[in-house]
Symmetry: C2
Subunit: 362 residues, 2 copies
Amino acid sequence: MKSRYIAMVVGGSVAMSTGLAALASQVPALSQQDRTSIWKSAKELFRPLPKAAPNPANPANPAKIELGKALYFDTRLSKGNTVSCNSCHNIASYGVDNLPTSQGHKGAFGGRNSPTVMNAGLLEPQFWDGRAKDVEAQAQGPIMNPVEMGMPHKDLALARIGSIDEYRALFRQAFPKEANPLTYENIANAIGAFERTLITPSRFDAYLKGNVKALNDQEARGLRTFVSTGCVTCHSGATLGGNQFFKFGLVNGPYSKYTGKPNSDAGRYDLTKKEEDRDVFRTPTLRNVERTYPYFHDGSVTDLGDAIRIMAKTQLGKDLNGQDVADIRAFLSTLTGQIPKEALVLPVLPKSGKATPLPDNS
Amino acid sequence: MKSRYIAMVVGGSVAMSTGLAALASQVPALSQQDRTSIWKSAKELFRPLPKAAPNPANPANPAKIELGKALYFDTRLSKGNTVSCNSCHNIASYGVDNLPTSQGHKGAFGGRNSPTVMNAGLLEPQFWDGRAKDVEAQAQGPIMNPVEMGMPHKDLALARIGSIDEYRALFRQAFPKEANPLTYENIANAIGAFERTLITPSRFDAYLKGNVKALNDQEARGLRTFVSTGCVTCHSGATLGGNQFFKFGLVNGPYSKYTGKPNSDAGRYDLTKKEEDRDVFRTPTLRNVERTYPYFHDGSVTDLGDAIRIMAKTQLGKDLNGQDVADIRAFLSTLTGQIPKEALVLPVLPKSGKATPLPDNS
């Protein structure tokens, strides 16, 4: 179900693509001065990704990261043994499932698009409505959510994990100073410690660190347009967004008029019941954005070009032309980074014990 | 829902475990002569796993294996983009999902337990009823099965995969001599080529190759009991089963009397409609059996000790004592092998194209 707006912009983009080569050639190449000036501006507005995203309240150690990774891939943290963190935040596809909303316990679909876990350790707060302060607090949510992993209570999660010998040993190693390391909070702490390793440096980081040639002319133009259009207001820093709240439909709304999907979600308003929070969401990080389709809290838009146009219209009141969209898109593709090699190595999951509660699909 | 038989054997096993140490000490240690004789007998009945499971009709090359692995982990081969081969045959848990039966399209559960993909390349035929001759033929089945991946027709699978640039390039590399490499059969051929790399050598292979000390006394006794009881009749060779058909309940039946789960599955009879095929199933491989619970075609039994007792009773008419079960179980644990390191490295999945058909959860 597409709105007239989408039909128009998509129509426009099809017309564009046939004339794109011609148009691109009409855009003059960047001068050395342009390139330097764009780079200097970028250095002010963005930062390279750090190597990791440490949390002093949850200090990492190798056993904790190993434990967290195993738990991340383990469906036994769901009531029916059918859903793991990785089901919706798939490491193989940049920490998302590329679905509008995700499938959870008993095949039900959730209400919001699964945000990427890549670089999420750098973001505060978590969730589209910001209801958790960090990845450790976030990880406690889905396990007990009835339409996600569906655990009826913490005790079942603890019984599942605590009945597995290998996990008990890993908890002792991961939390060596704790008398009773096996707690629900520590399940989430271990998962958080693993997630904090998921940093994805890209060509844009090489660029910010001084390699001005890491971006080609179109990408640099896209960066300039990204900044001059005002996208950078909400998408700056190392993660290009993810730490602030804004109304979706700030200048032109309601957003559903532009996305073409009915609005059944009032964002932070549903949490705070304050009118000023209606349709307010956390801005997403744009790191790996070309891989984390479909877009927006409801996954209503699949094409990145459409998402760029809609953002410019709803948030900034601007109608971008096809060349601008193509350039911004080219810039955003430089944010696609390397998934850490260690994270791509699957854990061999420990075997259940005699006392491990069986899958429950009720 | 457990039968009286299960209640009885489980009760027996609980009683056993308290006295197990005492019992074990009553079993005399094996003499050097015993050990040599068990090893010689094993050399006659079993074979070490080969390094790979090549198929001359589907010759492997690195691009084909890489393509097959990506497809294996890609949910876009399912109608709703929610199920991949790996969902039910999880590489992280020895090629199974450890569920009685598996969840597929729209959250539906299938009728039979998902057999392990580990070492499956060595098995002919495939499926519990043997309806496909090899892994290549097998891989064509679940994609189109309404309660598995749910693709309504081959064209949708081809449109999904064929609209992804990176896949098109990989198909050309994987099938260099074919003018039109992108076919439904080649999707399955690539997946099959990857699956043929999933060979899991274990301590038992070291034993068969001459290291008699690779098995301890209890494991060697278990091996002797496994052979003398008659288990070896159906579970021999390199894979310890997986290439023959037998009636489940051969000596004592119907099998549901022993497993405690009602029989709603007549095995090969449902395929052939021949009375002699009623309750006939392909024997499973016992490689990694301690990891591939729950057991039997309906996943009705979770504990390996229970499965050993039930098999001895239904197939061989024998009542094993607790020591025999413990010994056989110890032997079977030596079949838990190494998942190949390369298989544990997740592929980074290619991004969808503009023309890629969207997830369809209808």
